[in-house]
Amino acid sequence: MSADYILSITKPMLEGAQMTILLFLIAIVLSIPLGFLITLMARSSVKPLAWLAHTYVYVMRGTPLLLQLLFICFGLPLLPVIGEYLVMDRFVAACVGFVLNYAAYFAEIFRGGLLSIDKGQYEAAQVLGFSKWQTTTKIILPQMFRVALPAVSNEAITLVKDTALLYAVAVPELLHFAQTAVNRDFTIVPFFIAGVIYLLMTLLLTLLFKWLEKRFKFE
């Protein structure tokens, strides 16, 4: 097995990894704020809003992500009347699926973070004259994000690996090129290389979150 061969199959895989990373970034940047919005809805005193948020989380967590992706890519266009307007580029469709799915998980993580905050924090802020908005942005959110950080880190790493589901909707990404090389050359090496590339990506993320946790230790 020559170095040239390894290089020749790694190059397309790295190009595929760009798709992986792009999806990761889009999903994380959009699903975190959306997740937080759902958390706020779930806590809202307006009952239909809370009910809607709970149902949303239940459906998105209760069904496989793969099913959701297939549903959006190949299912929606089959709907009568409106179906023809729901045909999306498959990568865009996958992004929509990932954002919607991960938002539900982040919503639950943030809900847990909010529950961990002592009511004394709200009381101290109220007595000092903070408005509800000031209390939320200056006192509650920073503490919530700190509490949620380890769980967010965990979820982000899961997201890196879940990007491999792009394979199922035929968007060429890292795993797709590995599989192609395996079929063509009849060797297991491309799978190893794919594994190493995933490990490198998750290592970077792990280090980033470790640093964040240390930076926001508040000690």
Partner: protein
């Protein structure tokens, strides 16, 4: 004129009546200790004054304005203005753990009052000096002892320049050897004529520092007097019985 006037205050949690027709007055420069058995309504009464509890009836007047009159609350804007005259120190400190000691002091003047940065900074330095924690300005609360946390909490409340400072069992969560440093700070404030109301179980402190002691029992305001009057010559049997138990 009384700086706080409370009349016929009533408060229930469901079936349980925690405040039954409580009336009293606080004058400027008063240091009032509120004593009584656990569950007698002391904390609820104190928390009602700053709108952390809503009462079911009665009136609370602070300076010239009614927070609540005959059970009807003022507008939320007025409530905000009225409660801003009072500072509160909690049993469990309730410092903001994600902010340093200095930031804990400065955040409310910055965010709520929008005061000038240099004005805030010099006041926080002065107050940290006063409570003996100037060297802890850049430390997070997690690194402080309970006594230090409570002193920061007192300084934080003073940053808003309240006319009245309320203490809800300020030493109850502390190890016995740490209560002294907190009581010392309160004593110093008393000597500077800060108007204060302190819910406490520290009888020695109440006797030494307060100019008036209020005894509450079972949701009722039983009697008040100077420490001498109450400790040596209480009018009611249940006051005498409580003091006898507490001083044992």
């Amino acid at each position: 004129m009384a700086i706080i006037q409370v009349s016929n205050l009533k408060k229930s949690f469901g079936e349980l009546e925690v405040l039954k027709d409580v009336s009293f007055e606080i004058n400027k420069n008063d240091v009032v200790a509120v004593i009584g058995p656990s569950g007698s309504g002391k904390s609820t009464m104190l928390r009602s004054l700053v709108y952390l509890e809503q009462v079911n009836g009665g009136s609370i007047r602070v300076a010239d304005d009614y927070l609540v009159k005959d059970g009807v609350y003022s507008s939320s804007q007025q409530i905000k203005q009225i409660t801003a005259k009072m500072g509160m120190v909690f049993q469990h400190f309730n410092l903001f753990p994600h902010l340093t000691v200095r930031e804990n002091l400065e955040i409310a003047p910055q965010v709520v009052k929008r005061e000038a940065e240099n004005v805030i900074r010099s006041r926080s330095a002065e107050l940290l000096e006063k409570v003996g924690l100037a060297d802890k300005a850049n430390v997070y609360p997690a690194k402080l002892s309970g006594g230090q946390k409570q002193r920061v909490a007192i300084a934080r409340a003073l940053m808003m320049k309240p006319d009245i400072l309320l203490f809800d069992e300020p030493t109850s969560a502390l190890d016995p050897e740490l209560t002294g440093e907190v009581l010392q700070v309160i004593k110093q404030l008393a000597s500077e004529h800060m108007t204060m109301m302190v819910v406490t179980h520290e009888m020695g402190f109440a006797r030494e520092v307060a100019n008036r002691i209020m005894f509450m029992d079972n949701g009722e305001f039983v009697e008040a007097g100077t420490p001498e009057e109450l400790f040596t010559n209480a009018k009611y049997e249940r006051t005498r019985a409580f003091l006898q138990r507490a001083l044992k």
